[in-house]
């Protein structure tokens, strides 16, 4: 505070202390990344246990009760402690740099938002040590999640942890919005902001309006479980469908929360490695806003088979939301069209995103059709769909972002050969895992089962999916080795190794604590391109 005299503190501080107490958005972004990778290890191991059990019929390693905990925790950890924080990591690191700001608007709240993530993650996994983690599925439908059918402490820990991580997201969303609205550099008008900044802005709106609704549902579930509440218990006058409505009012927009920033990352990478501007910048912005707005009107497509929702409306809205997504696909493809494309690792992951997310989008449209959904509801088709969206979509875009921004974060280049091995293993592995699940779903295999009949004809496809799962796991070995050797002895990156367009490449790698010593003139959405080609020439201090 400026009101009181400031005494300079000369006390020497350790690097560890520096990192644990930092309010620098770049360090917080890196902390988010580290935390997300740790929880990725947790969630990934859970998935591999699940796949190991399903590799052949019969119960080999797990009991059914343990299996329920594993798939519940796999989904919860991946959604709330991996994908959402990974995107927060990229947003935190990049957005202030992209708009020419010195930091986020509320640096200390930013630190709070981060620290709530590992803390709540520890709370949720503690269930395993206290007699069983949550086991009602990540959707926690009552009565499965009621005190009668989930009596252990795991479910309560899950509720509290999800509330905490939701609060972290809400605070983060407020922070991003104030930062974007109030702290842009001179010349950085809204329609000159990089697309990633736009997608983070729209995502923040979704978090701001969706996540607190989930909190309200969790509050009611907690009271039902622990204080004899009647919200979701029909025997006491409550309604189990009520939970589904409130839960999906958040959790459908959550899918867009998990994919919009990823689309933003892709929209930064494709123009750079195609040597062209993004095709249809404004159309892209409006498509993003359109997805955000429509996202709140489709939640009941998760509930077609309950018979208590107005089917035509939610079906039509769900078909409709494919339109802005289609617009984006045309943007991306037209951006690459006749460009001078170089297939660096970030570009490979971006193109991988395009192909995988396309499948995830199209197999979702199948489910939007009510009669089709009646047949495939709660089968492995849905598992295939969500994984093509969240793994093939969100996660590949996250990896693309990490390969793209690693030189900025560390000042070192990652090894291209190892990166390409990583991509190849992951891309083949994810298709080997999730493509057979479509067929399993059509063959009628229900999701969330630990065992299946050896005569159902599902054996080979399940074995293929398991092999694919372990391939995905193995793909991280070249990645982590790559990070390790590159940090030790990687090639120096310099300010702008990719010849990119946006402001974050105008400062050093890694940037100083205050981000910029000076900014190039901002007269378009590609200030660095302008500076490089002397379109304006002028720089201002």
């Amino acid at each position: 505070m400026a009101a009181t005299a400031v005494r300079p503190i000369a006390r020497p501080r350790t690097t560890l202390y520096e990192w644990l107490t930092t309010t620098d958005h770049k360090k917080i972004g890196i902390l988010y990344t580290i935390s997300s990778f740790i929880f990725l290890g947790v969630g990934g191991s859970l998935a591999l246990f699940v796949r190991a059990e399903l590799a052949q019929p019969g119960l080999q390693f797990l009991t059914e009760s343990t299996y329920n905990q594993l798939f519940t925790m796999h989904a919860s950890v991946m959604i709330f402690w991996v994908i959402i924080p990974f995107l927060a990591a990229i947003g935190n690191y990049v957005v202030p740099l992209m708009i020419g700001a010195p930091d986020m608007a509320f640096p200390r709240i930013n630190a709070l938002s981060f620290w709530m993530v590992p803390f709540s993650g520890l709370v949720v996994v503690t269930g395993f040590l206290l007699g069983g983690a949550a086991d009602a599925g990540w959707t926690a439908y009552p009565p499965l999640s009621s005190i009668k059918y989930s009596p252990g402490p795991g479910m309560n820990l899950w509720i509290v942890a999800v509330m905490l991580v939701g609060t972290s997201s809400i605070l983060g969303a407020v922070n991003f919005m104030v930062t974007i609205f109030r702290m842009r550099a001179p010349g950085m008008t809204l329609f000159r902001m990089p697309i990633l900044t736009w997608t983070v802005l729209v995502t923040s709106v979704l978090v701001l309006m969706g996540t607190p609704v989930l909190t309200s549902a969790l509050v009611m579930l907690f009271i039902d479980r622990n204080f004899g509440g009647a919200f979701f218990d029909p025997a006491l006058g409550g309604s189990a469908i009520l939970w589904q409505n409130i839960f999906w009012f958040y959790s459908h927009p959550a899918v867009y929360i998990m994919v919009l920033p990823g689309m933003g990352v892709i929209s930064e990478i494709l123009p750079v490695f195609s040597r062209k501007p993004l095709f249809g910048y404004k159309a892209f912005v409006f498509a993003t806003a359109g997805i955000g707005a429509l996202g709140f009107s489709v939640w009941a497509h998760h509930m077609f088979t309950t018979g208590s929702v107005f089917l035509p409306f939610f079906s039509v809205m769900t078909f409709l939301i494919a339109v802005p997504t289609g617009v984006k696909f045309f943007n991306w493809i037209a951006t690459m069209w006749r460009g001078q494309i170089t297939f660096t690792t970030p570009m490979l992951f971006s193109v991988g995103f395009l192909s995988m997310f396309l499948i995830g989008g199209i197999n979702g449209v199948f489910s939007a059709s009510v009669p089709v959904d009646y047949a495939i509801h709660a089968t492995y088709w849905i598992v295939a769909h969500i994984h093509y969206v969240l793994f093939g979509g969100s996660f590949l875009s996250i990896m693309a972002g990490i390969y793209f921004y690693f030189p900025k974060m560390s000042g070192k280049m990652l090894d291209e050969r190892l990166g390409k091995i990583h991509f190849a293993l992951m891309y083949v592995g994810l298709n080997l895992t999730f493509l057979p699940m479509h067929l399993l779903g059509l063959a009628g295999m229900p999701r969330r089962i630990a065992d299946y009949s050896p005569t159902a004809g599902w054996n080979d496809l399940n074995l293929a999916a398991t092999i694919g799962g372990f391939m995905i796991g193995a793909s991280f070995i070249p990645f982590f080795w790559n990070v390790f050797i590159s940090l030790r002895s990687g090639e120096e990156a310099g300010d702008d190794p990719w010849e990119a367009n946006t402001l974050e490449w105008a400062t050093s790698s890694p940037p100083p604590a205050w981000n910029f010593d000076r900014l190039p003139a901002i007269t378009s959405e590609r200030p660095l391109f302008d500076a490089r080609h002397a379109r304006t020439g002028a720089e201002h201090e």
């Binding site: 620098d24 969303a173 104030v178 001179p186 701001l208 607190p212 309200s216 009647a230 205050w514 010593d517």
Partner: protein
Amino acid sequence: MSDGAVMTSGHSAGHGKKGLGNPVLGMLLFIVSEIMFFAGLFAAYFNLRTATGTWPPAGNGAFELHGEILFPAIMTSLLVLSSVTCQVAVWRIRKGDRQGMNRALLMTVLLGVTFLLGQAYDYTQLGFGIADGVFGSTFYVLTGFHGAHVLGGVLMLTVCLYRGGLGQFSAEHHDMVEATSIYWHFVDVVWLLLFALLYIA
């Protein structure tokens, strides 16, 4: 952290823009999320109320809250009054009157605490609990979470009062008081809705 930060020195907003201060805008956005939180609870309330048919549900005389409206009405008026005193605090500090702001803030804190005590007393007088069906559950969740927000508001007001006592606010720099007052008004409006819905309608 700030050495060499030529670009970034000066106003904490970074580029010294006019308009809402960052804390005020941040609070407004945070209140959007609070509205959505209460919207979830209200949605559950309306859903369960319409599904139940007769409301309050028959069979428990304690659910008839119309007869005991006087006490909560007094509490409501105290909360409305506290919104007025809170706004007075903002008007005072906008004119640079620190003493006036501190007096108004103190009254607001006292009124807020009185409301909380009154609500706690009211809870002891009600003849039903949170486990008494959907009526009890919705009543206590809505009023309870509102009460938690009043408590949060009182804590924020207390911090304002403490900092006001230290003389940290001025006509130009009092974003925290502005932000807190917006939050306090929001909490007040939620209560008016709850009072109309739970006690009158």
